[in-house]
């Protein structure tokens, strides 16, 4: 760990946070984790009380059946060295017909107007 002997001020703050060859400051990590915990706790309680995540999951709860499935698959090439566990632009699970929206906006609205 480095002990700063410079006077406090923006320049010294920037120097302190600039990456260097020293290991990451555990206090910095703890600080980020605690802030994340506080935000996550608020979000979880808000969601539970206001039921902002609740909707009718019609895509799986509506009775449906498929018949005469057909398909074609053609190998086109490969993509190597990708960083993401899922392909870019994946949309096979997307749902466009859910009407419920505005949970985050509602939370911010409640914070401002409480």
């Amino acid at each position: 760990m480095n002990i700063l002997t410079f006077p406090t001020g923006l320049s010294s703050t920037v120097l302190a946070l600039a990456p260097n060859t020293a290991s990451i400051n555990p206090l910095l990590v703890a600080g980020i984790v605690l802030i994340a915990i506080g935000i996550a706790y608020f979000a979880a309680k808000y969601r539970r009380y206001r039921a902002t995540g609740e909707r009718h999951f019609f895509e799986r709860e509506t009775k449906s059946a498929i018949e005469h499935p057909q398909g074609a698959d053609r190998l086109e090439g490969s993509r190597n060295g990708q960083r993401n566990e899922s392909m870019d632009g994946r949309n096979d699970h997307e749902v466009d017909g859910a009407l419920a929206k505005g949970g985050l906006k509602g939370a911010l609205n409640d914070i401002v107007h409480h």
Partner: protein, 438 residues
């Protein structure tokens, strides 16, 4: 497409010399026995309804508006007996039911079929319906904006509106309540009890489950037989490995993925049974920043296969709201939701693509569809929260009147929640500041 290679595992290989795409693999592909319909039924745009196609009138009970009599004794004092789900005559205690609303086989749907009560609302249609009481001859007016029954003030017979009138008040079908008010009150009380710590203080003081009201809400219920086709790109992971990045003390390992890329196409016939959407414009607005209408949506699904032909006697003791949305206003939503259902069912046909699929083209073409209106039962508790700056928000706690599914929005004690949630944030900021000096 050129002659495709043998499809990758786990899909069964077709004949590699085929010029046409091989059949899609087995899996959860079909929930019903295969039908020959698709060979004959080419996808076509939905056709306007014709008189021949129009569904039969759905009014039942006495078969027409007027006195909905008990078939045993002729009394009009008939109401729903919730535990049994039957209508009960309060005079002779006889029980009877309206017949179950039977839909045609979805495979038989061609073009657009509209239930006799699901036609367009005529804005000028009278909300006041005048009956001549068959028992005593008095003229009785029913305000269909608020009720579908009225009592003759002379002979006290109950007069019911069962005929379809074009103001959205009378539906094709009704799903009777199966949960009693006491059961609903218990469920709503239990739901709120689990959310007391951060609940608004005034709400807790004013909340009482006695204020739960039974209401029939209007919905459009849609059956659809259509053809869905998807085209896109999918990836299948071939290798996963780890590479070392960084240097010195910040050196660490990161995952890397190699994948084969495929052009993917899937198509199938899709049968959708009783897709249910709110038929009131107010409830289609589910912006949670200004209302809690998502609660009404979240208690679905209803067991619509238990719905019966509409009879106004089922409404006695309950409120009801009439629909104000027509088919053409709801069509974009229904089409989008049908596409979503198709996409969801397609996931069972693309298991091989463990890294996912990006669908670039989706088409859903209907062979036929059937629209009908229904009143579905909800036990509802509502609370109007007024915030310190005067802003108002109507909170619902709703209980599905058949399944008992209970969902609600409980107003928050924001100061308390913020006060507790901000503690780790303040501590975290302090740690970050301290990290500068240490």
């Amino acid at each position: 497409m050129t002659t495709p290679p043998a499809p990758p595992e786990p899909q069964p290989a077709g004949d590699a010399t085929q010029a046409t795409p091989p059949s899609a693999p087995a899996g959860p592909a079909s929930d019903t026995p295969s039908q020959d319909a698709p060979a004959q039924a080419q996808a076509q745009p939905a056709q306007p309804i014709t008189e021949q196609q129009q569904a039969h009138a759905t009014g039942i009970g006495s078969g027409a508006s007027g006195i909905g009599k008990c078939p045993n004794c002729g009394s009009s004092d008939v109401a729903l007996d919730i535990p049994s789900g039957e209508l009960r005559c309060n005079y002779c205690r006889g029980r009877f039911s309206a017949p179950i609303y039977q839909d045609r086989d979805i495979h038989e749907l061609r073009g657009l079929e509209v239930g006799s009560a699901a036609g367009d609302i005529i804005p000028s249609a009278d909300v006041l319906v005048t009956f001549k009481c068959p028992a005593c001859g008095a003229e009785v007016v029913v305000d269909t904006a608020h009720a579908l029954q009225a009592r003759c003030h002379w002979c006290r017979n109950t007069l019911s509106v069962n005929e379809q009138i074009p103001n959205g008040a009378v539906p094709d079908a009704i799903l009777p309540f199966r949960l009693t008010k006491e059961q609903a009150q218990a469920k709503i009380q239990e739901y709120v009890d689990k959310r007391k710590f951060f609940a608004n203080r005034r709400f807790l003081q004013e909340f009482t489950a006695d204020n739960v009201i039974g209401v029939y809400l209007p919905y459009m219920v849609v059956d659809s037989f259509c053809h869905a086709a998807f085209q896109g790109e999918g990836e299948h992971e071939t290798r996963r490995y780890y590479v070392t990045v960084g240097s010195g003390n910040s050196q660490h390992e990161e995952a890397r993925y190699d994948a084969d890329v495929y052009a993917v196409a899937r198509e199938f016939d899709l049968l959708v049974d009783d897709l249910t959407v709110e038929a009131k414009a107010e409830y289609l607005d589910q912006d949670m920043s200004r209302n809690t209408n998502n609660i009404i949506n979240a208690i679905m699904p209803f067991p619509t296969e238990q719905a019966v032909h509409f009879d106004a006697n089922y409404l006695r003791g309950f409120n009801c709201e009439k629909r104000d949305a027509n088919i053409e206003e709801l069509r974009p939503l229904v089409e989008t939701q049908t596409r979503d259902i198709a996409r969801y069912r397609a996931t069972g046909l693309i298991d091989f693509y463990d890294r996912g699929v990006r669908w670039e083209q989706t088409t859903v073409q209907p062979y036929g569809e059937k629209w009908k209106t229904a009143y579905l039962p909800v036990w509802l508790y509502s609370y109007l929260e007024t915030k310190k700056d005067g802003q108002k928000l109507l909170h619902y706690v709703a209980c599905n009147g058949v399944t008992g599914e209970t969902v609600g929005s409980v107003p928050l004690h924001m100061s308390k929640l913020l006060g507790i949630a901000v503690l780790p944030v303040i501590l975290g900021l302090a740690c970050m500041v301290a990290s500068i000096f240490i």
